[in-house]
């Protein structure tokens, strides 16, 4: 099956005005990435690593200055197929408020479908389905300002799901949410991936979110420096720290014990794994 995304050696720079000069600041350098249908990928990196810029290439918000980006086989530079690309790849942004257009939840979820000229009865059906799959059906008649951050983001996700896209790209969707909101959003997205097979690309700097994905891509300075399963990635504790990232405390504990000479598996990323491994260790003593 065809890759959903194929970024082939893409480069991109922003032009920054510095006093009298205009300097190109390179953001992405010779970056290649392929994402297969159904994957749940986290793109991890500190602010300034280029991860958001990469995300914006995935639905043609930005076009690469060098290299090509294919979405479902379509070159993102093909202007006539822009709507087609965007109906297949939905994007959810960081600020929950600045994505909601309508005064009533269900009207906002219908927005994309109205733009695509879908018949009214079909819109109604898809809106109801979308709201149910994010758990916001009971709130469909409420006004956006009455919702919590997590609820607003779920409405934004519903608005994308209604388009029945192949893929959702989420650009730091939980950065402005409280822990409960973060839980709601990641849980929703995880379920959409599991139950409906929607490909998910999650841009984040939260380790615990990346730990829940099937594949973690680590970026630094516009390049991909790691691309593997969460276990493999988090075992590289020193490397992650050197690029301004953190590791889960479970991983940190095991890492320090290993440095002290204790034998433990190097790919622990969750509390249960950690407890099991250490418990086993202590039992043997």
């Amino acid at each position: 099956m065809e890759n959903i995304f194929e970024c082939q050696s893409i480069t991109f720079s922003y032009n920054i005005a510095d006093q009298d000069k205009v300097l190109p600041v390179p953001i992405l350098e010779d970056l290649s990435l392929a994402v297969r249908p159904g994957e749940f990928v986290a793109v991890l990196g500190h602010n300034g690593s280029g991860k958001s810029t990469l995300a914006k290439h995935l639905n043609a918000i930005l076009l690469p200055q060098g290299g090509v980006v294919y979405v479902n086989g379509i070159d993102t530079r093909e202007e006539e197929r822009l709507l087609e690309i965007r109906s297949h790849v939905g994007m959810v942004f960081q600020n929950p408020d600045n994505q909601i257009v309508a005064t009533v939840v269900e009207e906002d979820v219908a927005f994309a479908l109205e733009n695509l000229g879908v018949p009214p009865a079909e819109i109604r059906r898809r809106v109801d389905d979308a709201l149910r799959s994010v758990g916001m059906y009971e709130h469909r008649l409420r006004a956006p300002h009455q919702l919590s951050g997590g609820q607003k983001q779920r409405v934004a996700i519903a608005g994308i799901i209604a388009m029945r896209p192949d893929c959702i790209v989420l650009d730091e969707p939980t950065a402005m949410l409280d822990p409960r909101g973060r839980q709601e959003v990641i849980g929703t997205v995880q379920e959409l991936n599991r139950e409906f097979g929607i490909t998910v690309v999650l841009i984040t700097h939260f380790m615990d979110e990346a730990a829940r994905c099937g594949r973690v891509v680590v970026m630094d300075n516009g390049k991909i420096i790691l691309d593997a399963s969460p276990r493999e990635v988090f075992s590289q504790v020193e490397l992650l720290k050197s690029v301004g990232l953190d590791v889960p405390q479970a991983t940190e504990l095991v890492h320090r014990l290993r440095q002290a000479g204790i034998e433990l598996p190097g790919d622990i990323i969750e509390v249960e794994q950690c407890v099991t491994a250490i418990g086993r260790l202590l039992k043997g003593s």
Partner: protein, 284 residues
Amino acid sequence: MAIIRTENLNYIYGVGTAFEKSAVTNINLEIEQGEFVGIIGHTGSGKSTLIQHFNGLLRPTSGKVYIDGQDIWEKPKEIRKFRFKVGLVFQYPEYQLFEETVYKDIAFGPTNMGLTKDEVDERVLEAAGLVGLKDKHMRKSPFELSGGQKRRVAIAGVMAMRPDVLILDEPTAGLDPRGRDMILGEIQRYHIQNKNTVLLVSHSMEDIARYAHKVLVMNRSEVFLYDNVEAVFAHAREIADMGLAVPQITRICIALRDMGYNISPETYTVESAKEQILALLGGR
């Protein structure tokens, strides 16, 4: 002496309407001078409402607030002077910047205090230094800076008032791990250097465990606990029930304890957990 003291503090929204709701209930608190206090609580627990009472932005429905021994509402017309004594930095403070230059924006607070030009200048430069802003930033428009730098400008703007108490509401919201460590490091340095009182509202128990000495836990508009960090972690299970995220390391230690191993369930740093485990293994 307690720098902040509250007496039966209550704040009720919509008194007399159908929407009446108590935001903070019966708060009796004494915070000593020089403390670094972490404030945690679920969303809606009243923490934001409570801190706005400390600098007189909100007036209690009933009860009293004493700053440095003075009842701040005794002369309501003079409430502004307490806003200079207790500096409050809101969440996402970078959205309040407005001046033409970074210098002028930081100077807003001290200027409102009625200080002389020289005094203002001294404080602005001092505050800028505290948050790591350089000379080249001072003449720029705040809108030209990056998000992290803007936040620093906003925090400096409050520090420049040289408040006796500095309150920060989730200063690391939206920042990546590197940004978070930098800001918290700066706040810690500020606290040590100035020996004043710092209150840090946060959702991250890990951050609070690392930097605070005492913790105030708010739950459903009431104070659940105000004690040393260790004592608070003794209640880790109850805190988890409130919907607050207990640090991973504490959860690991609680689980190991439940399995019968002699590890303190109040552990809140990785280093301490490591030491205890090594000790248990060493005893082989």
